[in-house]
């Protein structure tokens, strides 16, 4: 499955949930698939998308937070899974789109081919953890997890390769302000 199609499938499953998207092509693809005021595009600070998502989930237990991550971001921040495991927020969903490489910088190999992210999350105490490698399974699992108490984790294996997408054209301060306004409401 192409990562772009996975992003599209995820957005199709969502309603009023909040998305924190990691830096690089994943934010750009999300922006291209569907820009929403409930999307937070993390432009830099690689590795911190799940931390931002956790902070928002702890501050607002009444809002569902979905983190869209890549394998590179997740590998840089495996420690956050332990931190999530301490608090086990019911409203936290982490999705790792794993193409086994750093696509945004030209496709250099990452360390993820043998990494079972779903098993790591499960070991850290996540209530739901799963692995999928097809669009149908992704939609089914996400729908189930969105209707269950989290924290939930989906490891999604996707193909290497990229489609042509523009950069996020909203200023960082505006990304923050509109996301905050939505979280306040």
């Amino acid at each position: 499955m192409r990562r772009y199609d996975a992003v599209k499938a995820i957005v199709d499953c969502l309603d009023d949930e909040f998305i924190v998207a990691c830096n690089g092509l994943i934010s750009r693809e999300l922006f291209s698939v569907k820009d929403r005021t409930r999307n937070f595009y993390m432009l830099g600070s690689m590795g911190l998308s799940s931390a931002i998502g956790l902070g928002a989930a702890l501050a607002r237990p009444d809002k569902k937070i979905v983190v869209l991550d890549g394998d590179g971001n997740m590998l840089m921040a495996l420690g956050i899974l332990a931190t999530v495991g301490v608090f086990l927020p019911k409203n936290f969903v982490e999705i790792v789109l794993d193409n086994e490489c750093y696509e945004s910088t030209g496709g250099q190999d990452s360390a993820s081919p043998v990494t079972k992210f779903d098993a790591i999350s499960s070991s850290c105490g996540f209530r739901n953890s799963g692995f999928v490698d097809s669009l149908d399974d992704l939609k089914k699992m996400l729908t189930v997890f969105l209707n269950s108490d989290g924290p939930s984790f989906i490891h999604v294996k996707v193909d290497r390769g990229r489609v042509s997408v523009p950069r996020v054209s909203i200023s960082p301060v505006e990304i923050k302000n509109r996301f905050m306004r939505e979280l306040e409401s």
Binding site: M46, G47, L58, A59, G79, P172
Partner: protein
């Protein structure tokens, strides 16, 4: 605790012996949340998320952790203008400490100055004014503020 009176209601960070009593106090209290982060950059990410969710967060760390925080400070906290209070211990103060603390102890204030992070070295006699002033800077300028804590200034 003065920080609570100023409205700070969400704490995260990585411990330092200088901050030990403060973190113990926060962890044991059920009035607010302390999130033990696995690294300082993660604490900044958590604080950013909590801020967007309506909290007033504080990040506590040893100054060695400022090195771990560089990308998070420049490409997240400063870039998006997140007003997050940092409480940073000053290991290596006056060059008297274990060897691993001496260089960061020497360069820390320059490092914060280069990044344009408003910084106050806390003193027991003017502590309240320093914190009240920091709250004003956070609110008015929407930038992070660093409070530097030397051993013995706050118990």
């Amino acid at each position: 605790m003065l920080l609570n009176e100023c409205g700070f209601d969400f704490y995260t960070g990585v411990p330092c012996s200088v901050l030990g009593n403060i973190i113990n106090y926060l962890s044991e209290s059920d009035r607010f949340m302390y999130v033990p982060a696995t690294r300082e950059s993660e604490a900044l990410g958590i604080a950013v998320g909590a801020y967007m969710g309506g909290k007033k967060p504080v990040v506590l760390m040893q100054n060695s952790g400022l090195g771990n925080s560089l990308a998070a400070l420049t490409s997240l906290v400063l870039l998006y203008r997140f007003p997050i209070l940092l409480v940073v211990s000053w290991r290596g103060y006056l060059g008297k400490d274990a060897p691993e603390h001496l260089l960061m102890g020497k360069y820390m204030l320059d490092f914060l100055k280069v990044m344009n992070v408003p910084t106050r070295v806390l003193s027991a006699d003017v502590l309240e004014e320093q914190i009240v002033d920091s709250v004003r800077v956070l609110a008015e300028e929407k930038v992070p503020v660093a409070l530097i804590l030397r051993r013995g200034v706050v118990e």
